[in-house]
Amino acid sequence: MFKIVKKQVLAPSVFLFEVEAPRVANAAKPGQFVIVRARDHGERIPLTIADYNKELGTVTIVVQELGVSTKLICNAEVGDFYVDVVGPLGNPSEFLHLDDSTLKSQRFLFVAGGVGAAPIYPQVKYLYGKGASVDVILGARNTELLILKEEIKKTCNNLYVATDDGSEGHKGLVTDVLNYLITSNGKIYDNVVTIGPMVMMKFVALCTKKYGIKTIASLNTLMVDGTGMCGACRVSVGGVTKFTCVDGPEFDAHLVDFDEAMCRLNMYKTEEGKKLKEEEEKNHQCRIGRYA
C-alpha cells in the first residue's frame, strides 16, 4: 500500500499527487515512469514520474481524469492509499549520460502539451541547474489548463505559451511558436524534447525534422505490465518494432511511426467509453418516484 501525502489541483480535472514509495523514489531518474493501481480491482495505469524526493521517499505524479481508472486515481485524497505503485520503469532520459561540461554548451528546447508539462519539469530543472540553455514551449487548450507554468518559468531561460483559444500567449499551436522561434527569432537549438499528446508530438517531429534538430519524444502508449511482458506498447521506430516500456519510453521522434502509434492508442477507446458509461449508470441513483 502506498500512502498519498499531498494532493494539489493543477487545473480542472488535473491533479498532482505525492505518494510514499521509498523504493521507487530511491531508484527513480528523470524520464522514467511508474504503474499505479488505485484499488484492488483496478487497472494498471502507466504515469510518468514528474518528480521524486529520495529523502522523503516520495514520488510525484500528475494525472488527468480521462476514464474510469484515471478518475479513481484522481479521486484519492491525502491519507488514502494506492494499492500499487511500481517502478521506476523504462529507461532514464538520454541526456543524463552527458557530462556537465558538455551540458553547459547545449541548447535545449522543450515542447510540452497538456499534462506533458509535468514530466518535462524535472528535466528542465535538472538541465537548467547544470548550466544548459533551456527554452520551453507550453501548450494547452486554454489558460486554465496550463499547468506548472510558474514553476517551469523559474527554471528556464525563456518560456513561451500557446493556447488553442488564445486565452493566454499565442493563439494557436505549439508548432507555430516553434517555427517562429527558429525562422523569425533566429533561435538555434541542439536538442528538442517533446512530451504531450501523440498528435502534437507527431507535428513537432515533422517540424524539427525540417530544421534537422535532433528530437526526443516520450511516448504514452497503452501498457499492461510495463516490464516487457505483454507487448501492448509496441511502436514502430525506424521500421523496427520496439516495446515502449523497456526500450523507451523516449525515442528518436524522427523515427517514430506516430500514425500507427495514434491508431494503437485508440484501440481501447470504445471499451473505455463503455466502461465509463457502465460505471456512471451504476453510481447514478434514480430519483424518479422519490417524492411521490
Binding site: T227, M229, C230, V246
Partner: protein, 464 residues
C-alpha cells in the same frame, strides 16, 4: 469391476456449459474413483514412472496408499518430493512423463497418475492436513526473485532449511505464470493462493511491486539489504512475434497480453476495471499450451476461434488433454499453415491473415520433422483478432543489470554448475530464466535443486 485396461473416467464440465464460464473444466476424482483407479497400478519393482518424473515423486508408493484409502499417507509421500502437487497434478504434461512411461500404457491406458496426484493434493488441502513445519530461523536472509513455480519451490525449501526468505515479485500479485498465464478453468487461482498463504505461514515474506533490476538491483539486495544469496527465478516473460507485415495492427496481440488481461487483471469479470478486446473471429497462431489457453479463453469470451499451426496435429506441443478440450469446445485447427502477413483495413484494424501451406519433411537425423512452405499455396483467413502464441524468452532486465552474470546468446542465464550456481558468486538461478520456456514441474525441480545448493553454499560462509 472396470476393465483394467482403461482408466476410470474423471468428471468434466460438459463442453456446451464450460464455454460459457471460467470454472475448472476437469472436476477430478472422488474417493471411490481414486481408489478404483489406484487399484489398476501394477506396483512395478522398477517403476519407470518415477524415473520419468522430473522430481522423482515416489509414484507407486503414494498410489498404494490411495489404494488402501490412506489419503493422508499418500499426501505425505508426495510431499517429500513435490512442493506444489495440486498445481502439478493439473498442469504437468503427464503423457510425456510419468504416464507416458507407465507399463499399463503398452496394452491399454496408463494409470491416471496426474489425476490421482491432484485428488490426493486436493483432499489434503480441503482437510487442511498437510501443514508445513516451521523451522527455527538461522537468521540468514535469502532473496528469491520471481514468485512463479521456480521461486515458490525454492522459497519453500529454503524456509524449511531455516532461512529468512523474501520473495520479490514484479507484478502486483505473487504466482508468476500460474497467476497471469494459466487460466482459471485449468488452474483455479484459489489453489495458487493457498500455496502462497502456506509459504507465508512458514515465514516467507512476499514483496510484490518490486522489479528487480529497476526498483532495486541484485547488487543492492546483497550489499545494502543484507541478503546472503539470491535465487533468480524470473521466468521467460518476453513474448515473441513473427516480424511479418501488419503485426502492429489493432487487434493483433501477444498471447501474454491477452492472457494477462484475462487471468491476472480478470477482464472477463465486469467488477474489474481492465478492458480486453475480443474479436468475433479470432485466429491464434501457435500450437503450445499457451496457444490452447488463449484459444479457450477467447471461446469463453464469445469468439469463434481457429488455431493456425505450421505442423500437423501429431506435432502439437500442447498437452494432449488441452488439445482434446479445445476441440470439444469447438475450436477449429488449421494445420500445416503458416502466416505470411496480417491484413488490415483503412482504420488500422486487422481484417484477415494470409497464410501459406506447409509440408512436413522427414529430418535426416531422425529428429522432429521439419516443415517447408509449399510455393504458391497462399490463402486468406478472415478474422478481426490475431493472438500470437509463438513462445517467450527470458527478460533481460536482471541479466543486464547484474554485473558478473553470464547470459546465453538467446538470453538465458548461464549456470556454472547444474545445481543452479551462476557465474556471479552468491547468485543462483533456475526455471525458465535458465532453460527458456518449459514446464511448471521442471521449474519447480530447478527451484528445489537451487535451494539445496544455496544451503550448501551458505553453510560454508559467514554472512551478515
Amino acid at each position: 469391476m472396470a476393465d483394467a485396461k482403461s482408466r476410470v473416467a474423471a468428471k468434466e464440465q460438459a463442453p456446451e456449459l464450460r464455454v460459457k464460464n471460467f470454472k475448472e473444466v476437469a472436476m477430478g476424482y472422488n474417493e471411490e474413483e481414486a481408489i478404483a483407479e489406484a487399484s489398476r497400478c501394477l506396483e512395478c519393482k522398477n517403476p519407470r514412472c518415477v524415473a520419468a518424473c522430473p522430481v522423482s515423486v515416489k509414484i507407486p508408493q503414494f498410489i498404494k496408499h490411495v489404494k488402501d484409502a490412506d489419503f493422508l499417507g499418500a499426501a505425505q509421500v508426495i510431499h517429500e518430493d513435490s512442493s506444489l502437487p495440486a498445481i502439478c497434478g493439473r498442469v504437468c504434461p503427464q503423457e510425456s512423463q510419468c504416464e507416458g512411461s507407465c507399463i499399463r500404457g503398452i496394452k491399454g491406458q496408463p494409470i491416471a497418475i496426474g489425476k490421482l496426484e491432484r485428488f490426493v493434493a486436493d483432499w489434503s488441502r480441503e482437510k487442511g492436513l498437510i501443514v508445513n513445519k516451521t523451522t527455527v530461523s538461522n537468521n540468514k536472509k535469502v532473496a528469491v526473485v520471481g514468485s512463479g513455480p521456480a521461486g515458490l519451490s525454492c522459497a519453500s525449501d529454503l524456509a524449511k532449511f531455516g532461512y529468512n526468505v523474501t520473495v520479490f515479485e514484479a507484478l502486483h500479485v505473487p504466482g508468476g505464470v500460474l497467476e497471469y498465464g494459466i487460466p482459471e478453468f485449468r488452474l483455479p487461482k484459489s489453489i495458487v493462493n493457498y500455496e502462497i498463504s502456506n509459504l507465508e505461514k512458514m515465514g516467507v515474506v512476499f514483496e510484490p511491486d518490486v522489479v528487480i533490476g529497476r526498483t532495486i538491483s541484485v547488487d543492492d539486495l546483497m550489499a545494502k539489504e543484507g541478503y546472503c544469496a539470491v535465487f533468480i527465478g524470473s521466468g521467460a516473460g518476453l513474448p515473441k512475434f513473427m516480424h511479418i507485415a501488419g503485426e502492429n495492427l489493432n487487434g493483433v496481440v501477444s498471447a501474454n497480453e491477452f492472457l494477462t488481461r484475462v487471468n491476472l487483471m480478470r477482464a472477463f469479470d465486469s467488477d474489474y476495471d481492465t478492458p480486453v478486446y475480443v474479436g468475433k473471429n479470432v485466429v491464434v497462431v501457435g500450437g503450445g499450451n499457451v496457444a490452447m489457453d488463449a484459444a479457450r479463453c477467447a471461446v469463453r469470451l464469445g469468439a469463434k476461434v481457429t488455431v493456425v499451426y505450421r505442423r500437423s496435429e501429431k506435432e502439437l506441443p500442447a498437452r494432449r488433454e488441452e488439445v482434446v478440450h479445445a476441440q470439444q469446445e469447438g475450436i477449429a485447427f488449421q494445420y500445416l499453415s503458416n502466416p505470411v502477413q496480417i491484413i488490415g483495413n483503412a482504420k488500422g484494424w486487422v481484417e484477415g491473415i494470409e497464410c501459406v501451406k506447409m509440408e512436413l519433411v522427414p529430418s535426416k537425423d531422425g529428429g522432429r520433422n521439419s516443415v517447408v512452405e509449399i510455393p504458391n499455396s497462399n490463402f486468406n483467413v478472415s478474422c478481426d483478432m490475431v493472438i500470437m502464441a509463438l513462445g517467450t524468452s527470458p527478460n533481460p532486465l536482471i541479466s543486464s543489470t547484474t554485473p558478473g552474470l553470464k547470459v546465453e546468446k538467446w538470453g538465458g542465464i548461464s549456470l556454472s554448475d547444474p545445481s543452479g550456481e551462476t557465474y556471479r558468486k552468491g547468485v543462483f538461478a533456475g526455471g525458465d530464466a535458465v532453460t527458456g520456456a518449459a514446464t511448471v514441474i521442471l521449474a519447480m525441480s530447478a527451484g528445489r535443486k537451487a535451494a539445496k545448493a544455496i544451503d550448501e553454499y551458505l553453510k560454508g560462509i559467514s554472512c551478515n
